[in-house]
């Protein structure tokens, strides 16, 4: 296993070099928070893909497909189609109207202090769930891979946290972006290679491959041998609530992505709305190709490695690495594991920078100090300290939860909160003249609370005694988020917010007055 450790170290060395290079280049707020708004469409597109394809994608989906077949592929579909919401509705107006954070768009025409405070709270909540999931995943993966070298879950979590703090504190958005680009290229390369090996195993015949997928054999919980067609839907989502749960999950994915703060802030790193649009399309090409290939990763693991073997050797999340080991030996196993590690590290860095930017820009500068930096560079200094604190807290919580915390559930929670709290208020403030501060605060609060409460009452937490029968709260909490926002807005009038809608509308649609690419 020392090969795996060696590959980890090579990746870490490369990313340290990137961080050192970025730290020398970036000076000033726009450089630190938005990479100087100077990225090209493909650079940002690859970075969006790198930010998005997390441990849940690579390890999680491969595992769900390997164990529950077709139903796992539904995650893949939703995670790509979600980008149409980003492309058609959110990316361009956001780039034109905002500066560094999601709450910038809300604060444009609403009362800045309450909406920024709520926006920062929601950003931190979403990022926290997402990040803790990644850290737990990283800890479990690394400790399993390196168990011969004596690396424990705790050491692994602390290492991941410390690395991410270094990238964000010293390198800012520029370093984070390039870490994501390197990771996305590695992940795509590894996935294509692994898919080719799966096809080679079946003599490069798709017919043979799918024929094997229709006859997957394994032992069920009672020890009986089962042969199952893995292309058949319904192995995970069973009656009576399976269909509703599937729709609910779809809603959280489709509407949640456009509310994920760490994805939204990426559109501030490009010079204009046109580049933001092109970067979404680049991201869609990469993300779509990746998720189509999960067919080979997941079904490949089910047919070639087998459920029984994976269950005994690390569980669902190890499906992709074990597939690599079976097909390509220990060296390839180490390579794929290093990629999984890089994937997690990059996503965690992206989450940390969006969370600390939101705290520094929304809460510290605009809520506490009414929009004024008391000394030059204060906002960046606060963000650096926040990144350090966020990292330390994430390490602590991940260690407290331990290696057996349900990773997919934490990520689903992040998507549900983003879809229920963030998306309704972003959409309404961009498109509804009558929308106001009350509506935004009410919408964020309803969306946040309803999704959190429904998850607490769901089978994921309460098991058999669940009050709410669905795993995913989206189908209820997303409409509630919209409803809360609409009722809040309709129960009060805010002439200034309505008057400023014209300005926002012109700016969002023409780019007039939008933040320019910074001169270094």
């Amino acid at each position: 296993m020392s090969t795996a450790l060696g590959m980890f170290l090579v990746f870490i060395a490369v990313t340290f070099y990137i961080t050192w290079w970025a730290a020398r280049r970036s000076t000033g707020s726009s450089a630190y928070f938005a990479a100087g708004r100077s990225l090209t469409a493909w650079q940002n597109g690859v970075a969006v893909a790198g930010d998005y394809m997390s441990a849940a994608s690579f390890l999680g989906i491969a595992g769900i497909i390997a164990f529950q077949g077709y139903d796992g592929f539904m995650y893949s579909v939703g995670w790509l189609v979600a980008y149409l919401t980003v492309l058609l509705v959110v990316a361009e107006p956001l780039r034109n109207a905002g500066k560094y954070t999601m709450a910038d768009v809300l604060a444009y025409r609403l009362s800045p202090r309450p909406v920024r405070a709520m926006g920062a709270l929601s950003t931190l909540t979403v990022s926290a769930f997402y990040m803790i999931a990644q850290m737990v995943g990283a800890g479990a993966l690394v400790s399993l891979l390196l168990k011969d070298t004596g690396v424990t879950f705790h050491t692994a979590v602390i290492a991941v946290g410390a690395l991410m703090i270094v990238y964000v504190v010293f390198g800012g958005m520029l370093a984070t972006t390039w870490v994501q680009i390197v990771k996305a290229v590695l992940l795509m390369g590894g996935t294509i290679l692994l898919s080719l090996l799966v096809l080679k195993h079946f003599g490069f015949s798709l017919g043979n491959f799918f024929a094997a997928v229709t006859q997957v054999t394994y032992h069920d919980a009672q020890g009986n041998v089962v042969t199952q067609n893995f292309l058949t839907p319904g192995l995970r989502y069973k009656p009576p609530y399976g269909a509703l749960d599937l729709i609910s999950l779809g809603m959280a994915l489709i509407f949640g992505t456009a509310g994920l703060p760490h994805i939204l802030v990426r559109f501030y790193t490009v010079p204009d709305a046109k580049t933001a649009r092109a970067s979404v399309v680049w991201a869609m090409l990469i993300i779509g190709s990746f998720y189509i290939l999960t067919t080979f990763l997941g079904f490949g693991a089910a047919t070639i490695v087998g459920r029984d073997f994976i269950a005994k050797n690390g569980g669902t999340n190890m499906s992709a690495p074990l597939l690599a080991q079976t097909l390509g030996g220990d060296l390839f196993f180490a390579f794929i594991s290093a990629i999984a590690f890089a994937t997690i590290l990059a996503v965690v860095a992206g989450l940390t920078i969006s969370a600390s930017t939101s705290f520094a820009h929304d809460f510290w500068t605009n809520v506490l100090h009414r929009g004024k930096e008391r000394s030059p560079g204060e906002e960046v200094r606060v963000a650096r300290v926040t990144a350090f604190v966020v990292g330390a807290v994430a390490i602590l919580i991940a260690i407290l939860l331990g290696p057996n915390a349900n990773v997919a559930f934490l990520v689903a929670l992040a998507f549900a909160v983003a879809a229920s709290a963030n998306l309704p208020v972003i959409v309404l403030s961009l498109f509804w003249r009558r929308f106001n501060t009350r509506g935004a605060v009410a919408g964020l609060a309803t969306g946040l609370l309803s999704s959190l409460i429904l998850i607490l009452l769901s089978p994921s937490i309460m098991k058999g005694a669940a009050v709410f029968p669905l795993e995913n709260p989206g189908i209820v909490s997303i409409p509630l988020g919209f409803l809360g926002a609409a009722i809040g807005a309709l129960t009060g009038r805010e002439p200034e917010a309505e008057a400023k809608f014209t300005e926002l509308n012109v700016r969002a649609n023409t780019g007039l007055g939008a933040e320019k690419a910074g001169a270094h």
Binding site: V81, L88, V89, F210, L231, T232, G250, N505, K516
Partner: protein, 122 residues
């Protein structure tokens, strides 16, 4: 046609745009037709992709028998429909890219118009 960097230099910055200017731009026929053109593309596109996407979990959930039917060798309708979602998303994105080129042109004209009026008004 001026290059993007030339446009950036000439474009009025936030400070030079007065509140009345936003109102004036919003009132022009050019701006109204930009908004109308965008709405004509984006609204149907959003409705289409939402309907197409949710047809998948709905059919898989409520008509598993139909979706399990084999249509291409051993491959069933459920997998093919799921796969088609990827191409649907790429095609909608490509169509939007084409339409957005037109929106950019219209927005550029509006910015030029404002530059003329800013000079005229002073």
């Amino acid at each position: 046609m001026p290059s993007a960097s030339e446009l950036n230099e000439k474009e009025p910055s936030n400070e030079t745009i007065r509140p009345a200017d936003w109102e004036r731009v919003a009132a022009t026929d050019e701006f109204k037709s930009l908004i109308a053109a965008k709405r004509r593309f984006i609204a149907p596109a959003v409705i289409f992709f939402i309907v197409y996407y949710f047809a998948l979990p709905a059919l898989v959930g409520y008509a598993p028998g139909l979706m399990s039917r084999r249509v291409l060798g051993v491959i069933n309708l459920a997998y093919l429909f799921a796969l088609s979602q990827f191409f649907m998303a790429w095609i909608v994105a490509a169509l939007y890219m084409r339409a957005a080129g037109r929106f950019d042109e219209m927005a550029r004209k509006i910015i030029h118009l404002l530059q003329g009026r800013l000079k005229g008004g002073e």
